[in-house]
């Protein structure tokens, strides 16, 4: 049995990696992919905790075991798919405007 703490630590490391990628990289596409990494890390944590706490009070419908974490992760995937779609559309529009995908070219709000 892998203790749940291991999963959580893994999730944390993935999250940190994704976060660093988001903060450091300038390429908008890489930024978006880093966001994916972070969200996946969150999903992992959710599912891990769900596995370790099966008797969550608020949602016990099927044989007394709650699937809250997994359902939550499901919605995260759905929302995040929508986000990726719109984000990439924005990247395309941005590219059409500036002919580049560097985020520091998007400085129209300067000062």
């Amino acid at each position: 049995m892998i203790p749940v703490e291991h999963y959580v630590i893994l999730s944390a490391l993935l999250f940190v990696t994704g976060g660093i990628g988001f903060l450091v990289r300038r390429n908008v596409l890489v930024t978006l992919m880093s966001i994916e990494v972070m969200l996946n890390a969150a999903n992992l944590a959710l599912v891990a905790f769900n596995r370790s706490r099966l008797a969550h009070d608020a949602a016990q419908t099927y044989s007394g075991q709650s699937h809250t974490g997994q359902v939550f992760a499901f919605f995260v995937i759905a929302a995040e798919a929508a986000e990726v779609a719109v984000g990439l559309a924005i990247v395309l529009a941005f590219y059409r405007l500036r002919r580049t995908v560097r985020s520091d070219e998007a400085d129209l709000l300067k000062n």
Binding site: L23, R26, S103, K110
Partner: protein
Amino acid sequence: MLSLLPPPNDYLLIAVILGMPLLGAFVNGIWGNRLGKQAVRLMALGAVGVSFLASVVAFISLSQLSETEKGAHVRLVWNAWEWMHTTGGHEGAIVPIEVKFSVDQLSGVMMLVVTGVGFLIHLYATSYMENDKSYARFFAYLNLFVFSMLVLILGDNLPLLFVGWEGVGLCSYLLIGFWYETPANAAAGKKAFIANRIGDFGLICAMFLLVEYTGALDWNGIANGATSLVHPGEPFRVHVWPLGGGHYEGILSFLQPHKPFTISAATAIGLALLLGCTGKSAQIPLYVWLPDAMAGPTPVSALIHAATMVTAGIYLICRLSFVFVLSPFTMMMIALVGAGTALFAATIAVVQNDIKKVLAYSTISQLGFMFLGVGVGAFTAGFFHVFTHAFFKACLFLCAGSVIHAMHARIHDDAKAQDVRNMGGLRKWLPLTHWTFAAATAAIIGLPFTSGFFSKDEILYRAFVDRTVNPEDGVGLLRKLGTYSPPQWLGPVLYTMAVAAALLTAFYMCRLYFLTFWGDFKGWTVGRPSLVSRQELAQDDADHAHHDDLTTPSYAPHESPWQMTVPLIILAAFSLFAGVLNPGFGILRERPMDHWLEPVFKSATERAVLFAHNNDAAWAEHLEWPLALGGFGAFAIGTALAWWVYVAQRGEPAQRLAQSQPGLYRLVLDKWRIDELYDATAIAAVDSLAETAAAFDKSVVDGILARATAAVVAALGTVLRVFQNGIVHVYAAMMVVGLAAAGWFFSVPHPNATIADAGNDDYTLTAAPGIGYAYRWDADGDGKPEKPDFGNSATLKVHVEPGKSQDVNLEVRNSFGLVRTKTIHVARPQEPTSSL
């Protein structure tokens, strides 16, 4: 018939009396231009006419009520609504201020005068202002004035009177500056308003004092509380020096008097009200606006500055007579101010050349007579003079307007058209105007058996014979103390000043009459057509043609239309015959007006106004004929002198006198240079204060406060703008900083505890909860916790004696294993030792 009228305590007809002029003002003001002159005329005259008829009906109701009440002080009251309330009196009781109107004997007479004379003047003005381009505006203002004056008269409490007071001041400003395109007119309006306002300051202070000392602002309430105004005890005296009852020490101790100087509240209120009345009624020191006010149209001068507005001051003194008599000092001041102004203004009127200016100074002088009358306690005499003065002065002004109207057709320059030196012999062409002017002049100079004769003589008689004392003197609280009593020589001095003023009045009025209507017309060569503008030439018609041939007498001055002459006739008739309402002289012993007004002034004059010489009524009666002779003599000598100088000698003695004393002549012609004195002193002081304030505003407020704060904000903005460089990474980095700080805050435990009193000298300390918190208490602050382990006990009870304190340490550990400590100081205050 009486049953058709409203009951006396809810007399809705008052709403009609007030509402009609207001409606007229509103309609004419807003739609006047679109309605056309005919409709405007109708609306204005209809409004004031209906108001007059309603006033007559109200007066009749009042007289019937007075009969049934057998001579008590009756009122027809209409309480519209409660306006506001304040606290007052020494117990801080609630003082309601209502919009409440009442008609009693005093305001009933005044109401009739205002609406009646107002109607006649409206009629006159429909023709006088015929060619004016702001016809509707004029009548809107005039109706508004009548409304404000009625509010002033009919108001049942001081704040409502003040509303009317301010309203008439406003209308006066609007109407004086009616032709505002000329800067001089606008300046005159401003001067009138500002002088009035200075007086209003006195009125407002009086209101504050009244509500504080008597706890009421309506006439009934003030009368009930009036005894507290003369209370000699401490909270009821007004501290004049040291100011406000303080005590000067230290640096200012040289200002401290040996004994504090206090005056009674009645004196303070009386003097404050006197300031207000001198402003409104043009007495010394605030009379300077009235001569300038002649810049307005003549009907305005007649209505506002002769008949009604300027008498508001005397009306107020009559209204609050029971307050004024409580202070003999104030009564003396009123009488002195009145007599002094009468004499002073008469001297100026003697040398003026503008017909309206002479009448203006005459008004000031006659108002002085009224003040003299009420100042010596002869309230009915003073008020009767108000009544008669309204008629003859309005008549005089309207006649002057008629004369100017005639002169203006020939002489287009305003100043020259009004100059008496260009007139003369007008009785040939203006017969009606001439006779009415003569009638009004006869009244004002006191020709025996005219109305002016009776009213003026009564005042002269009472000035000599009366003596005012404090009615509470020797009674009640004032039994042991003395009060101020006017000196014995006051009566004769006042009488002498009044007789001198009457003499001068006769002289200058006759001078004016002779110069205008007798002799030869001197205006033939004045008024060159080249001065007439092209626009006015285009407006000429047969009546008002500006002819070009100036040497022939064929284009003579002409009489005015019926709208102007009928009011003149009516007013002249009243001037001559209104004396029947209050003769009381010699064989005509009847005094109807005195009887009518007696209930209003009884409470005031009962114990306050006595005869001099120890209240010797017989002595007073013996003096009646001699004093009347003095008045008659003044009239006779003045008239004879004027006839001799201006008719017999054709004005030569006056010329010689003027040439021999050029300095004095110019000084009196310049109104004793009082305006220049005010300019140099008071106005210069205000100007320099204004300049100082402007400099302060520009340098300190603008320079430092406004610009400095703007500069600080701009600098801050410049600094902060660096952070907003549009680059997402920078923003993301800042988000991380915030996140780290928040994360630090949440991952560190925060110890805190609330203290609750548990009774029995115990305090219960409850620690603030948090996720995963474990607590460890140290109840006596010695560094050693009670239990060595972190537990879940979040409360602790400590026993603290009164006056002692204790330090309790609380350590908190959160899930991350971090520990924080806080020291809580628990103290119990001492028991209170007294229950004060």
